[in-house]
């Protein structure tokens, strides 16, 4: 059967956009200054038809008749190797066999629809480059044109005569003689099999099999490893920990605590105590037990929220990692209760600076600019295709994220009241819906629990995947209909660990038998173990009463979604796996879920001692210069390049967008959406994070993060008494007691702060061992650990969205108030970072005062006294005032003399990053009422000045000008750095 190749070039006179983009990227990565690139996209099509038909296929389906031209020939023929211009070096890039190729799958279906006998398709990209020496060509191929973990590169003519499809798998049952192994042998087995289990765990498994008198099969060992992985069981944080940290007065190791289950006794405990104190008014519905945390919304719906990380896959293949990261977290609400409808996404990223010198990259590390572009595209393509608006996010930069970028993706879903619980019934059928199972994503769960090294790429390439959002959208469409028709009794997503985790969790209380050969496969050749642990994307597992199966099957078929019965939840208390009738695994659910030995660890924490800072004397110009630098620093700079690539308005519920103001370019504090288009009730999405503060004390980092998430939510109008928060801990190697200590200290802070504010944690996740090891030029082992990175995501509510407030200054002559206390807190501040200084007091939170301040701020907004409101964070008062005035296209004149009582120097007043502060714009008619409201609450609200239309930010103190900044220049500095 012929293999046709169809190359599609821009038609004459059309711009070669992809060629120019590639050229620019090669330049940005420092690989070549002026390489010429011609680009073509190509299709390899295996099908039983002649040349004229292949041409017809190209013209009717594949190429655009106005803007493109195509070259059609049997693969390998000369006409395909004629360069379109002067560039003679041909590079072909193809997805590796077995890697998801959504366009190829769609092409097969569409070509068959119009009568072409197509058997297989693979897409490809062709680059024609100008003359290069081999080493440069090699590095361009590897670093700019392709990604080794999912793609293959062929330089020169493509010689192929057929597309690979898998070979049938010869069944062979494999057992592992674990009973005879000791110590190092067990460790070797764990390492070689990529099980990532500890010696104690391996010994427990060995002893279990000794006690039942047989050796395990490979699939049994894998199942246990998946279930016991850090990713699935959170064994470190839910383990026994002995902690010593600083006492309340700072005495080293005076705070000693013994945890049986650290997470339960800190974060969960906070939620329990809040729920108890709320009594009948408890608005938590289902927390820390399902795929997402559920809270009440209105009379008909609950709302759920989950944030996950996908760090390790994103380090190796940024596009696919982030793509499947978002795709995965969307399945969490879909798999919560009886299934929630996703209504918005959030995303937060941590990268090394994109201007990192390419020559300093350690081996195995992708350039951060490439990581960032890939991650953003990955999130974009999944979220946009699913039709879920991505409404809130943040990006942080620090060189320590070089080997370990962080990708946090969140999703919010609405669930009808009464659908929040699920229960698998005995003898229900186990049904898989959605994507087929392939060899992709093998060992994702265990891999994500391990430390990355420069060799990870070759070792764990299989853990990296590309998603297919449309498959997931189709699954969502049928799942919602099946839910409403009552066709299943429980649902969960297939995430880390694939079927092994999904079926294992659902059948935990009952038991399950699984017929592995029944799983629909992408291609032949998978072993029974691969079928069981593959983390292929876009799959959900539902538990279906036998009498409902036919209706579910028909529903799925009617929308082209694949559904297959994989087994039955048999009331045996055992997990029995068979392949064509032969038992390949038989484990007791008890051993899988309760047999893991507890991890016992020591944790100790010593915060950095506070040091004083000798601030340089800065005059008005000095302040303006450093403020400009702050506005242009990566953490503060505008993220519009990212924001605009996300559809943040699909579903029609957008109320406060990520970019606000008359020019749609002001940085909004939080997003407001109406999740039900027919209702006026809104959700408020915000986040808080500041890895720089963790270098001083992770306690204050954690309280600051919660404070920031809260003040962002309150600033746009969220009611502070109903904000649900989520924790995501991304940390280094927690086997080190100091690293674990820094985490426990942050968890204690979360507990304290949540209880004081009455903001329950409803869900959370951790990602540990985020360190990158490599051998440097001298052959010495080097390790880069990420800074402690706690993301707090907040979900608030607003009764009537017409009460929402935005941060852009509205009108000249309105009064400007500073709400909250300013202290001398410059530790980790953007002032010091930009002055190249260290030390200082890290910002702390007066927790009871924070609660009162949020309540008063909300009351002022409810009373419609606030025209605009902006939280103070990086860059303090100076940056907040700049952003507010700039976003409104206006100016601002402030006099900080009233703050003299604080005893702070002007520089501190302008740039301190003290928590729980807001800058508010109030009409002059409302100024007194605003003043009184805060005075009554006992919260500082200082009248600092007015909005004007000068286009300047002018700040005086005792008649002296201390800052004068042209806002056009500030805006330029702020827009420029990430304006890609």
């Amino acid at each position: 059967m012929p293999l046709w190749q169809i190359d599609i070039y821009p038609a004459e006179g059309q711009t070669d956009r992809e060629g120019l983009r590639t050229q620019e990227e090669i330049h940005e990565l420092g690989l070549h200054d002026s390489l010429q690139v011609d680009f073509a996209r190509g299709f390899l099509v295996q099908g039983d038809f002649a040349h004229d038909q292949a041409v017809q296929l190209a013209q009717t389906l594949l190429a655009d008749s106005v803007t493109e031209r195509s070259v059609v020939a049997i693969a390998g023929q000369d006409s395909l190797n004629e360069p379109p211009g002067d560039n003679m070096t041909l590079v072909n890039v193809l997805p590796k066999p077995g890697v998801m190729d959504p366009v190829a799958a769609s092409t097969i279906a569409a070509a068959k629809d119009i009568g072409f006998d197509v058997h297989a398709v693979r897409t490809m990209r062709k680059y024609w480059l100008s003359e290069l020496d081999d080493t440069v060509l090699d590095s361009i191929c590897r670093r700019a044109l392709s990604n080794d973990s999912v793609e293959q590169v062929i330089v020169g003519p493509l010689e192929m005569d057929q597309l690979d499809v898998g070979e049938p798998h010869d069944f062979k049952l494999t057992t592992v003689a674990i009973r005879e192994l000791q110590g190092e042998q067990l460790e070797k087995l764990s390492r070689d099999g990529q099980l990532y289990l500890t010696l104690v765990e391996m010994e427990t498994i060995r002893d279990h099999f000794i006690s039942i008198g047989r050796d395990p099969t490979d699939i049994e060992l894998e199942t246990i490893a998946q279930t016991w992985s850090e990713h699935c069981s959170h064994k470190t944080l839910a383990g026994r920990i002995h902690y010593r940290g600083p006492g309340a007065d700072g005495t080293p190791e005076a705070d000693e605590r013994q945890y049986e289950n650290m997470l339960k006794e800190t974060i969960f405990a906070a939620t329990q105590s809040i729920r108890k104190s709320l009594g009948e008014d408890d608005w938590c519905v289902s927390v820390f037990k399902d795929n997402a945390g559920v809270v009440t919304f209105d009379d008909e719906y609950h709302v759920c929220f989950k944030v996950e990380t996908h760090n390790h896959p994103s380090a190796l293949e940024p596009y696919g990692g982030a793509n499947t990261g978002l795709g995965g977290v969307i399945r969490d609400p879909m798999g919560t209760g009886m299934g929630a409808k996703p209504v918005c996404n959030t995303d937060v990223f941590c990268f090394a600076p994109p201007d990192t010198d390419p020559t300093t990259l350690p081996p195995g590390v992708l350039h951060p600019r490439r990581v960032m572009k890939g991650v953003v595209s990955g999130v974009r393509d999944y979220g946009n295709r699913m039709g879920i608006p991505t409404v809130n996010g943040a990006v942080y930069f620090d060189p320590r994220y070089l080997g370990n970028p962080l990708v946090y993706c969140g999703n919010v879903g609405m669930i009808p009241i009464g659908m929040e619980e699920k229960e698998v019934m005995p003898d229900d059928l186990i049904v898989a819906i959605g994507g087929r199972t392939g060899r992709d994503g093998i060992h994702g769960a265990t891999f994500s629990s391990a430390e990355l090294t420069s060799e990870s790429e070759s070792l764990s390439g299989g853990a990296v995947q590309i998603g297919n959002a449309i498959t997931e959208k189709m699954v969502l469409d049928v799942l919602m209909q099946a839910r409403d028709r009552g066709l299943y009794s429980a649902v969960t997503d297939c995430g880390a660990g694939g079927f092994s985790s999904a079926v294992g969790e659902m059948g935990e209380k009952i038991g399950a038998e699984v017929w592995l050969e029944k799983a629909p496969l992408k291609y032949e050749g998978l072993t029974y173990t691969e079928i069981w642990i593959s983390e292929a994307q876009e799959r959900m597992v539902v538990s279906v009463p036998p009498e409902s199966w036919e209706e579910l099957r028909e529903l799925c078929e009617s929308e082209g979604v694949e559904a297959a019965v994989l087994g039955r939840f048999s009331p045996t208390g055992r997990l029995t796996l068979t392949y064509h009738g032969q038992v390949v695994g038989d484990l007791s659910m008890d051993f899988m879920h309760d047999g893991r030995p507890p991890i016992i660890r020591d944790a100790v924490y010593h915060p950095q001692p506070t040091t004083s800072v000798d601030l340089p004397a800065l005059d008005a110009k000095g302040h303006a210069d450093v403020l400009l630098k702050i506005m242009g620093s990566l953490n503060v700079a505008s993220k519009h390049w990212i924001v605009r690539q996300y559809d943040h308005e699909v579903q029609g519920g957008s109320v406060v967008k990520p970019l606000v103001g008359p020019l749609c370019d002001g940085p909004s504090d939080a997003a407001v959406v109406r999740p039900r288009i027919e209702s006026r009730r809104g959700l408020v999405m915000s986040c808080g994070m500041n890895p720089h503060y963790g270098d001083f004390d992770t306690y204050h980092m954690a309280t600051s993060a919660i404070d920031e998430a809260m003040r962002n939510a309150v600033a746009v109008g969220a009611a502070p008494d109903k904000v649900a928060i989520l924790d995501n801990f991304c940390w280094g190697y927690t086997d080190r007691s100091e690293t674990l200590g820094s985490l426990v200290r942050a968890a204690i802070a979360c507990q304290d702060m949540a209880v004081t504010l009455g903001t329950p944690f409803v869900s959370g996740k951790d990602s540990l061992n985020n360190e990158f090891s490599f051998n440097d030029a001298d052959g010495k082992r080097q390790t880069i650990a990420i800074p402690p990175s706690l993301l707090i995501s907040a979900m608030g509510q607003i009764e009537d969205v017409s009460l929402a407030v935005t941060m852009d200054a509205k009108e000249a002559d309105n009064v400007v108030f500073l709400v909250g206390q300013t202290k001398s807190e410059l530790g980790g501040s953007h002032l010091l970072l930009n002055l190249g200084m260290s030390g200082g007091q890290v910002p702390t939170v007066d927790q009871p005062l924070a609660k009162t301040t949020f309540e008063a701020m909300h009351q002022a907004i409810q009373n419609r006294l606030v025209r605009s409101c902006h939280d103070l964070c990086e860059g303090g008062l100076a940056a907040a005032a700049t952003e507010m005035a700039m976003a409104g296209g206006l100016g601002m004149a402030l006099d900080i003399s009233p703050m003299a009582a604080t005893g702070l120097a002007a520089t501190e007043t302008l740039f301190s990053e003290s928590n729980t502060r807001f800058l508010c714009e109030v009409t002059s008619e409302n100024a007194d009422a605003f003043d009184k409201l805060f005075a009554k609450a006992g919260v500082s609200a200082i009248r600092l000045g007015v909005i004007d239309d000068s286009g300047q930010l002018a700040v005086t103190s005792a008649d002296q000008t201390v800052l004068e900044l042209d806002l056009a220049a500030a805006k330029q500095a702020w827009l420029e750095p990430l304006n890609w």
Binding site: T60, A109, E649, V650, G652, K657, P662, S802
Partner: protein, 266 residues
Amino acid sequence: MAAPRVLVLRAPGTNCDEETAYAFEQAGGITERVHVNRLIENPALQDRYQILCLPGGFSYGDDIAAGRILATKLRQYLAELVDAFVHGNGDRLVLGICNGMQVLMRLGVLTEGIESDNHAPATLDWNDHGRFEDRWVDLVVDETPCVFLKGIERMYLPMAHAQGKFVAAGPKVIESMQQAGRLAVRYANGDHGKVQNEPLPFPINPNGADANTAGVCDASGRVFGLMPHPERHIDPTQHPFWTRRKTQPSQGDGMAMFNNAIEWFS
């Protein structure tokens, strides 16, 4: 006359169907969201409806090119249905929004009757900057027979697409389409910008479209496709700076299009 019935077509990857149906309902229509497979099984279903709407999304992933696969499917299996709505007795309406416009362009119904040699008279190409963009745009309506735009002079709507650059096969195409009022709605410079063919710079013309074209209709004005999303501006709080206004209008700019469609049948 009874309220017109609107067929909101769903396909794998369609994702603006709910809010688009909601907008038609707010205007007084009766809507049904129907999967393309149901129509293929039972083409007679189409008799129930007076309006065919192809909403936004990524039909079939926009794999190969935006809207291409759904257009191919419609041409292969539902040619009669398309013909009945587009031509028929001239008593029905067709609206394609964003991905829906992409599908209508690939089907050729928006450029029908325009001469060009050997290839389509026009197409929708990648945005000039080569990526997806979500941005609010000022639009101005040209003199046009378009039913949906009756009485509308300007609109402020969000666009959200990657492949929405209208490219005509030559100046003659632009000329004949413009003369027939078929380049019905254009990107404009602010809220006073006029219709002009001279390309406006980014971001006023957000994708580099020829003649600043944002929406195109057929010769009768009953068949209309546009890239920006009218269904995303039917409520005042969808406006990107509604918080700056001291009073709010009763509805957003996009609502008038849906009202026009329903009123056409009264």
